[in-house]
Symmetry: C2
Subunit: 516 residues, 2 copies
């Protein structure tokens, strides 16, 4: 028996059921423990960014953490980008990183590095095991810290000798985990007062406020107060689809976002913070709140915002019942038209099963798909919260494991997909119900816009080469098949519609290359 087994059993007792692994020598006793202990599923990933992205997707859909198992500083380094996205999604993750045995670290062997230093920038808590006796208590603390109250990444560093010790500490039974912070009555009263005084209020939603119950409360608040509903541009998980409340998603483009919020005299913030520009641009403002408008925070990401919104709705009193939105007429598909993101969105609405999960890592193309799926079946839309591309295919792995009965989609730009395409292998290995749509525009298209926006001038040939992915063009059918996932290509609206229909019927992991 090894201390690592106590760690695994303790994690299971706290509800951690899945471990996304990319282990090395220093994690071999964790591998052995995962082998021996029932109740934790191990999912091997070929690259650490797949493991951390999967943990993010899992947390968003399961509402609780999975753990990772990574290999020293370079291993967690490879995982940082998707830990950043998880952090920005307030997704709980227990990030377990093996390190050299305590005495070995002093020898400065080749893999020695400052593991805690690598973890820190993307973690809300970093704990380092010093002796095997601490293994269980620090495991509980890691889970607790991942719950916050502001949920996020808790990194636990586990030296090899602390894992292999036969001084096995007691397994810790289930403990209470931190709840979201309740919002005070005073805050709710302040919101009531501000809403009644405002002429043109906006209720600005993010994070949990965009889950189904939050949106329903938001609609009641809107009906009672006349507030317009907006949400963040990038939300961890949006409940969408026909019959659901659909706030306006704030535009990515600053000029448009400022226009959208213009005239508002109260921005009541629910679950997030006041909107800011994604990037700075010369001479453009970074804060989107209109001058002179009052900003009032009902609650942030660490608060029980759904509880607060329900209380606020009740306090505002019954309004006219909110009529269920009528089903919009879905535009026709002209099958011979060249494919574009809009057609992808229309086909998604036609063919995706109820309760699908869409992981959006498609920047420009994702923006084109989004408007069209709102009238389709109910689904959850997961945004690229941290802006670190390469999230979609890994997130889909985690979402599919969290929700085995739901169809999962990864919407990926070709540039983004190239970061973490190894996720396809795990999708094949676990036979996950994931349809990956790769938007092949053979370009970092967003950067072509951005180059102009930042005023860097007309791109010359060298700059064009740095934004273009067409020399050579990636062959995504071969790349997918290389990792064991069947793939097909669609060039017209009709080809895509047929391919999507077939893929949903077939089940299992698949890639559709959307040539746009």
């Amino acid at each position: 028996m090894f201390a690592a087994e106590s760690l695994v059993r303790t994690l299971i007792n706290q509800g951690v059921e899945v471990c996304f692994t990319n282990p090395g020598t220093s994690e071999m006793h964790m591998v052995a423990a995962l082998d021996r202990v029932e109740g934790m599923k191990s999912v091997l990933c070929l690259f650490e960014g797949v493991a951390t992205g999967a943990a993010d997707g899992y947390a968003r859909m399961a509402g609780k953490p999975a753990c990772t198992l990574l290999h020293l500083g370079p291993g967690v380094g490879n995982g940082l980008a998707n830990l950043h996205n998880a952090r920005r999604a307030f997704a709980p993750v227990v990030n377990i990183v093996g390190d050299h045995a305590v005495a070995h670290a002093a020898l400065d062997a080749p893999l020695t590095s400052d593991v805690a230093g690598v973890c820190a920038p993307m973690s809300r808590w970093v704990g380092t095991v010093r002796t095997a006796s601490e293994v269980s208590t620090l495991a509980v603390e890691a889970v607790r810290q991942s719950y916050g109250p502001e949920r996020g990444v808790a990194s636990l560093i586990l030296p090899a000798d602390c894992a292999w010790s036969d001084q096995e500490p007691d397994v810790i039974e289930t403990v209470d985990l931190p709840p979201l912070r309740p919002v005070s009555d005073a805050s709710i009263e302040a919101a009531v007062k501000a809403l009644s005084a405002a002429k043109s209020p906006i209720l600005f939603l993010g994070n949990d406020a965009c889950l189904e119950e939050g949106l329903e409360a938001a609609a009641r608040i809107a009906a009672a107060s006349g507030a317009r509903l907006f949400m963040d541009t990038f939300v961890p998980r949006i409940a969408r689809g026909h019959g659901r409340v659909s706030p306006k998603r704030l535009s990515y483009l600053g000029s448009e976002a400022i226009q959208e919020l213009a005239g508002c005299d109260l921005l009541l913030i629910a679950g997030t913070k006041a909107p800011v520009a994604f990037f700075a641009y010369p001479g453009e403002r970074g804060e989107f709140t209109p001058d002179g408008a009052q900003t009032l925070t009902l609650g942030g990401p660490a608060d029980d915002i759904i509880g607060a919104m329900n209380a606020l709705a009740e306090r505002l009193g019954p309004a006219e019942p909110v009529p269920a939105p009528e089903r919009s007429q879905m535009p026709k598909i002209f099958p011979d038209e060249p494919l574009n993101p809009g057609y992808v969105g229309i086909s998604m609405s036609r063919h995706m099963p109820e309760n699908s999960v869409l992981c959006d890592d498609a920047t420009t193309s994702g923006m084109g798909v989004f408007p069209w799926t709102g009238a389709g079946p109910k689904h959850d839309w997961l945004c690229l919260t941290g802006g670190a591309i390469g999230a979609g295919m890994p997130q889909a792995v985690g979402a599919a494991l969290a929700c085995p009965d739901r169809q999962v989609f990864a919407l990926c730009g070709d540039g983004a997909a190239a970061y973490t395409l190894q996720a396809l292998w795990t999708q094949a290995r676990e036979n996950l119900n994931i349809i990956n749509i790769v938007f092949a525009n053979h370009s970092y298209l967003v950067l072509n816009f951005e180059l102009a926006r930042v005023g860097a001038g007309e791109p010359g040939p060298a700059a064009q080469q740095m934004l273009s992915l067409d020399n050579p063009k990636m062959d995504w059918v071969k790349l997918a098949e290389g990792f064991g996932v069947p793939a097909r290509c669609a060039r017209t609206a009709g080809e895509f519609d047929a391919a999507l229909h077939a893929a949903v019927k077939a089940g299992g992991p698949q890639v559709i290359v959307a040539e746009i």
Copy 2:
């Protein structure tokens, strides 16, 4: 004109000629500057780990830094593993990381993170530009810091507004860069005394001591003193091949390494430090120096070890001239035999052109190739200095750009190759003379050994699954072709020999899948 242009011109004046890029919005003015300024080649990479690995390979072969261009905290996170390898190779790298405009950082936009914190663990210096006026001075400081005297990674953080400012600072002309530290006469005298007193001395070489001139000096010292020659297990660049001095490479396995050094009473260290175990194992010792042996350091990685060794050889006086080693008889290839790493090594010796560069990222298989190439044509062998797999294909990119007239090989385990396979795209785009040999054992084979070595017991089915890559098997021919690189598969010694011969003749990037 933007400040970014001053930065690029200043870097060029310090001899930085290549930039490995994976830019985003915050780096658009650097992209524009790279476009406008002559003298810096931009090489686009699809993933940051490719950019940093390429910078490592470039530095090892060019003896000077390339720069990178990465995108905020997540971008440099993706590059950390290969920066770790570069750091452990004492390879100079100027790691340029774009960040939000200074005022924008306070808004905590989605991509905001502690960029300096992400850089720090793998950098010997981190500098952050605060105003455009600092751009040129900090660029020079970054280059200077990459030269050390202990060479390594210097990270320069460049906020977008400091790049786009039209307050263009003066371009700085060529400055003197720090030389290696001279070794004192006293140290050389101490070595003379210790060698003459020792009964069984070993001269233990690493880093620059394994370059051609270092090895020649080592041979003269050995001839004059009777010292045996050993080198580190993982050396940044070893000059090898027929006619060259060939020290014994210390075994990776601790039990063998201890055996190899047994009986030595003086370990004279040249360019490195006393050998230690790569990992800790229960009950095994971590330091390999025999008990009672004296350890004396002639010089470490920051020292002019070649100068010191030449001085020591001269001080020891002329020995019998060292006879040129006889060419070993190369074993025959039995063409129908199943392929193994030894056969790959034999074929490499037969077909690789003089002055080839071999980037070894093949752990178990690389160990099997190594002994067979020593009798082949002269070549440089680049080891995985930091133990972070995924180095080989990216390093090959950098080596090929540093040495366009030389044939480059990447030797990659299939597990390792899966980390950074996006490097193949850059190889195709730049039409580099790189033959990638992927050893397809469909397993993290080294971990099967390690699991037993650490005493974690017999692997059960879950553990076996975590070390095995055979479900599904990756199809490396398709993966290579997907990134635009032609590929073929070899299953027997004869097939591999023919494939290698053809690949060398054909030129350009290629993949040979060695099914072993």
